[in-house]
C-alpha cells in the first residue's frame, strides 16, 4: 500500500509540470493585458507602465515561467495582481466553502443516486423504475444555473424556509449542495441501475435466493456491493469535476468559493491567481483519483493495486 502511494506521488510530478506549462501558456496567449485591466480606465500611461513592472510582465516569458515554477515548488504561488495578497492565502480562504459544497454534493448524489438506482433495478420495468429514470433524466438535463435560481425562488422567496445567499450558517449550504448534487445524482442513479441489473442476473444471486436469504440482504450484501466498482469510478471523477465546476452555483448563491475566484481571475487576467489556483485544483484532482483507486481494493478484494 505504501509503495503504491509513493508510486502515485512520483507520478504526480510530471503531470503537474505539464499542467503548469499548459496553464501558463494558455493564460498568456489569451488576448488582454493585466496591467490595463487592473489599472482601470482612468489610469495614465505611467500608472499602467508601473503596474506592468510591478507584475513582472516586462520580463521575458521563460523568466516569468521560471519564477512561477520556482515559487510553486517552495509553496509560494506569488501575489495576486488584483488584490496584492498572496495567492496561497486567497485560495485557502476560499477553499473550505468549495470543498464543503463539492463533498456534500457528492455524498448526497451518491446516497440519493444509489438508492434511486437500486429501487429502479429491483422494480425493473414497473412504475417505480419509470418514475426514477425520468427523474434522473430531468436531473441530468436541468442546467444547474436555472435549478439554483428556481430553488432560491421557492425555498427563500416564496416559502421563506432557507436563506438565499452567503455562507453565514450551515443552512446556507443546503441549496447549493442540492443544486450541485442533482446532476450527479441522476448520473449515479442510471449507473447504479445498470450495474445492479447486471449483478442481479448473475447466478450467485439466484443461488442466494434459492438458499432462502432475505431479499433485502440479497440486494444489499450480495448485489449492491458487487455493483459498487463502476459506480465508484463515476463518483471519483464527479468529485474532482465538482471541485472545479462549482462556479455557477457559487455565483448564484454568492458563495466566496474557489470556482468564482478562478473565473474572476481569468476575466481580469490575474496570471498568478489563475496559474496557482489551477495547479492546486489539478493536484486535488490527482489525489482524489489516487484515493479512488485505493478505495477499489477495499470494495472489491479481487482488485490488486498495481
Amino acid at each position: 500500500m505504501l509503495r503504491y502511494a509513493l508510486g502515485r506521488l512520483v507520478e504526480m510530478v510530471p503531470v503537474l509540470l505539464g499542467t503548469a506549462l499548459l496553464v501558463f501558456s494558455m493564460i498568456h496567449l489569451v488576448p488582454g493585458d493585466p496591467a490595463l485591466l487592473i489599472a482601470g480606465l482612468e489610469a495614465s500611461p505611467q500608472t499602467i507602465e508601473r503596474a506592468r513592472e510591478q507584475f513582472g510582465l516586462d520580463r521575458p516569458l521563460p523568466v516569468q515561467f521560471w519564477r512561477f515554477l520556482a515559487g510553486a515548488m517552495t509553496g509560494d504561488l506569488g501575489m495576486s495582481f488584483r488584490t496584492g495578497s498572496p495567492v496561497v492565502e486567497e485560495i485557502v480562504d476560499r477553499f473550505g466553502h468549495t470543498f464543503i459544497i463539492a463533498l456534500g454534493a457528492t455524498l448526497l448524489a451518491t446516497a440519493a443516486g444509489m438508492l434511486a438506482g437500486t429501487i429502479a433495478a429491483v422494480r425493473r420495468n414497473r412504475l417505480a423504475d419509470g418514475v426514477v429514470m425520468v427523474m434522473a433524466l430531468v436531473a441530468v438535463s436541468t442546467p444547474s444555473y436555472w435549478l439554483a435560481l428556481m430553488l432560491m425562488l421557492c425555498f427563500s422567496l416564496w416559502w421563506g424556509l432557507l436563506p438565499s445567499i452567503g455562507v453565514a450558517t450551515p443552512w446556507h449550504y443546503v441549496l447549493p449542495i442540492v443544486t450541485l448534487g442533482a446532476q450527479s445524482a441522476g448520473i449515479i442513479a442510471r449507473m447504479t441501475r445498470s450495474a445492479m441489473l447486471d449483478v442481479l442476473a448473475q447466478e450467485y444471486v439466484a443461488t442466494a435466493r434459492a438458499k432462502g436469504v432475505a431479499e433485502g440482504v440479497v440486494i444489499v450484501r450480495h448485489a449492491l456491493r458487487n455493483a459498487l466498482v463502476p459506480v465508484l469510478s463515476v463518483v471519483g471523477l464527479r468529485f474532482g469535476g465538482l471541485l472545479a465546476g462549482t462556479v455557477l452555483v457559487e455565483s448564484v448563491f454568492a458563495i466566496p468559493g474557489l470556482g468564482r475566484l478562478i473565473v474572476d481571475a481569468v476575466l481580469l487576467r490575474d496570471y498568478p491567481m489563475v496559474q496557482g489556483a489551477v495547479l492546486v485544483v489539478a493536484t486535488l484532482f490527482i489525489v482524489v483519483n489516487a484515493l479512488t483507486d485505493i478505495l477499489y481494493t477495499v470494495v472489491d478484494p479481487r482488485v490488486r493495486l498495481a
Binding site: 488576448p31 482601470g40 482612468e42 489610469a43 505611467q46 488584490t83 445567499i165 455565483s251
Partner: protein, 529 residues
C-alpha cells in the same frame, strides 16, 4: 421580513419539527433583531471592494466603502455643491496658485491619533510619491507641494492655476488617510481592517474577501453620528440573486438592478426604488484615423443617422434619458446642447459630400460588460443600414476589448466603431474632456482611445484647465463641447444613465450620489409599529 406563505401540510410532529427548525435557524441567520429599531443594514452590490486605500481605488464598489470610512478636505453635497468636510473654509490666493484650507478642530483618526495639517501634508506626499506607484497619482499631477502653516492651516500650491482644483479635492481619492497607519503598512494599506484608518463616521471591523465587509459606527466621529450601528457589504455577483435577496429581505439595499426588474420592483409592496442622474453616459467612439471615419463629415453623418429616442425607449426605458451634450447634466462646466437631431437625409447628404454616396462597410465592436452592450450595437447597425453603411458586429469579452485602449499605435489598432462608457469620477469637465479627447503627445492612444485630434479643442481645454475663473472656464468649455458634439465628433453620445438603487421600504434617508455611490451616513430603519 420573510413572507411566510402557506404552511406545507404537516402530517407528523417530526415533519413539523424539522420545518420549524429549518425556519427558526433561517431566522436566526438574519443579522437583525426583530424587536426595537433595527441597527444593522445589509447592502449587496455586484462585486467585492478591491482596496480600501483611497489613493488606489478604481472601482465604485471600493469607493462606496471608502466614503463611509474616510473624509476629504471638501466634498460634494447631494445637490452637487462643494462644501467643507474636514476643512471648515478655504480660499484661493491672488496669483491663483495657492489654496489655503482651515481645518476643523478636534478631529481624530479611528486609532485616536489627531488629525492636523501635518496629516494632510503627509497624505498628499504619499499619493504624489512616484516611488509608491499609487493608481490615482495622475489625478493630482497639478499639485506642486503641500505646506503646513500651523496645526489647523494647510496650504496646497499648484503648478499652474488649476481650474478643476476643487472637484479634484472632492474626489474620493483625495480622502485623507491616517499617515501613521499608511507608513506602517506601506503597499498593504487598505487591504485589511487593521491596515485601514480614516476619520469617517464608520470604521472597518472585518473583511472576509468575496464574502462581506463589516463596518461599525465610529462613536467618536467629529460630525453627525450615524444612526446605524453596523453596516454589512455583501457582494452578490449574480444579478438575479441580488434581486431575490432584496425581495426575500436577506439584504436591505441593492444596486446594479437589471433593467427589466426595475419596473417590477418599483411596484412591489415593501420595496422602494430610488433614481437620480449620474455622471455616466453611454456612447460609441470612432477610430478617427481609420478609413472613412477619418473624415469628420462621415462621423457627423453617423451622428445624424442615429435615433437616440428609439434606443432609449426600447432598450433602457426608465433608466436613462437621451444625451444633450458630451457631459451629463450634473457635471461642472457642462453645456446643454440639446438632443442631437435624428436626420437620415442629412446623414446621406454628408456621406455623399464626403465621397461615399453608396455608403461603406465598417465594424462595430462591443462587449456585454456595458449594460445592453450587444443590443446597442445591433440597434446602431440597423440605423446605419438606413443610410447605406453596412456594419458588422463584433462581440468581445472585456479583456479582449480593453487591450486596444491604451498605449496602442494606430497601425496596430483594428477597431473602427466601438462601445464606450463616458463619465469622469470627479464630475468635472476637465477630467471628462481633456484626457479622452485631447491629442496625445506620443501618437498612441493613451486615454484618447480613438486617436481624436482637433487643434482648436486642444487649445480650449488646455486654457480651461489653467483658468481659475469659473465663468471664463465655462465659456471655454462651452465652445469645446460644441466642437465635439456638433462639429467634429469623436463619438456619438446615446444617453445619460440614471443611478438606480433598490431598497426595502423600511430603510430611510439613503444618500445616493450622482458619482455612482450610495452611502448610509444618515440612513436608518423606520421603527416597527
Amino acid at each position: 421580513m420573510r413572507s411566510h406563505g402557506t404552511r406545507i401540510g404537516s402530517h407528523s410532529p417530526a415533519a413539523v419539527a424539522v420545518l420549524l427548525a429549518a425556519f427558526g435557524a433561517g431566522c436566526t441567520a438574519e443579522p437583525a433583531s426583530p424587536a426595537a429599531e433595527r441597527d444593522t443594514l445589509v447592502f449587496a452590490s455586484s462585486a467585492d471592494a478591491t482596496t480600501l486605500d483611497p489613493h488606489n481605488t478604481t472601482d465604485t464598489q471600493s469607493d462606496q466603502v471608502i466614503w463611509m470610512v474616510y473624509n476629504a478636505l471638501i466634498r460634494y453635497d447631494p445637490e452637487m455643491n462643494i462644501v467643507g468636510d474636514l476643512a471648515e473654509s478655504w480660499e484661493m490666493s491672488e496669483d491663483e496658485l495657492t489654496w489655503t484650507f482651515h481645518l476643523r478642530e478636534g478631529v481624530r483618526f479611528h486609532d485616536g491619533s489627531p488629525f492636523t495639517a501635518e496629516s494632510v501634508k503627509r497624505n498628499f506626499d504619499r499619493v504624489l510619491d512616484p516611488g509608491q506607484g499609487h493608481k490615482r497619482l495622475s489625478l493630482f499631477e497639478a499639485i506642486e507641494r503641500v505646506e503646513v502653516v500651523d496645526p489647523r492651516t494647510v496650504r496646497i500650491i499648484t503648478k499652474f492655476p488649476f481650474g478643476a482644483f476643487e472637484p479634484t479635492m472632492a474626489h474620493v481619492s483625495a480622502a485623507i488617510v491616517n499617515p501613521e497607519v499608511a507608513d506602517r503598512y506601506g503597499s498593504d494599506f487598505g487591504l485589511t481592517p487593521e491596515a485601514t484608518s480614516g476619520t469617517g463616521p464608520y470604521k472597518v471591523v472585518s473583511w472576509r474577501k468575496d464574502q462581506e465587509i463589516v463596518l461599525e459606527r465610529n462613536d467618536d466621529y467629529w460630525g453627525e453620528p450615524g444612526r446605524l450601528a453596523r453596516i454589512v457589504y455583501r457582494p452578490i455577483p449574480e444579478a438575479a440573486s441580488r434581486v431575490i435577496a432584496l425581495e426575500s429581505a436577506d439584504v436591505d439595499v441593492i444596486t446594479h438592478i437589471p433593467p427589466r426588474d426595475v419596473a417590477r420592483l418599483d411596484g412591489l409592496p415593501g420595496i422602494q426604488v430610488l433614481k437620480g442622474m449620474s455622471i455616466g453616459a453611454q456612447m460609441f467612439r470612432f477610430n478617427c484615423v481609420r478609413g472613412p471615419l477619418a473624415d469628420p463629415r462621415v462621423r457627423l453623418a453617423i451622428a445624424y443617422a442615429v435615433d437616440r429616442r428609439a434606443i432609449v425607449d426600447n432598450l433602457v426605458a426608465g433608466l436613462a434619458v437621451p444625451s444633450t451634450g458630451p457631459l451629463t447634466p450634473i457635471m461642472r462646466g457642462r453645456a446643454d446642447l440639446g438632443e442631437f437631431p435624428h436626420d437620415p437625409d442629412k446623414a446621406r447628404a454628408l456621406l455623399a459630400d464626403a465621397g461615399y454616396p453608396e455608403g461603406f462597410e465598417t465594424t462595430i465592436s462591443t462587449t456585454p460588460r456595458y449594460n445592453m452592450g450587444v443590443e446597442l450595437a445591433e440597434a446602431l447597425a440597423a440605423q446605419l443600414r438606413d443610410v447605406g453603411i453596412t456594419a458588422r458586429i463584433e462581440v468581445l469579452e472585456w479583456g479582449a476589448m480593453r487591450q486596444f485602449w491604451g498605449g496602442i499605435r494606430p497601425e496596430d489598432n483594428p477597431q473602427e466603431i466601438f462601445i464606450m462608457g463616458a463619465g469622469a469620477s470627479s464630475a468635472d469637465a476637465d477630467w471628462g474632456l481633456r484626457p479622452v479627447y485631447m491629442t496625445t503627445p506620443t501618437g498612441t492612444n493613451e486615454n484618447n482611445y480613438g486617436y481624436y485630434s482637433n487643434a482648436e479643442f486642444d487649445d480650449l481645454v488646455m486654457r480651461a484647465m489653467q483658468e481659475a475663473d469659473r465663468t471664463e472656464r465655462e465659456t471655454l468649455y462651452q465652445r469645446a463641447q460644441e466642437i465635439v458634439y456638433l462639429e467634429d465628433p469623436p463619438g456619438i453620445w446615446l444617453y445619460d444613465n440614471f443611478y438606480v438603487v433598490g431598497a426595502r421600504s423600511n430603510v430611510q434617508d439613503i444618500t445616493t450620489s450622482p458619482l455612482g455611490v450610495v452611502t448610509f451616513e444618515a440612513a436608518s430603519f423606520v421603527p416597527e409599529s
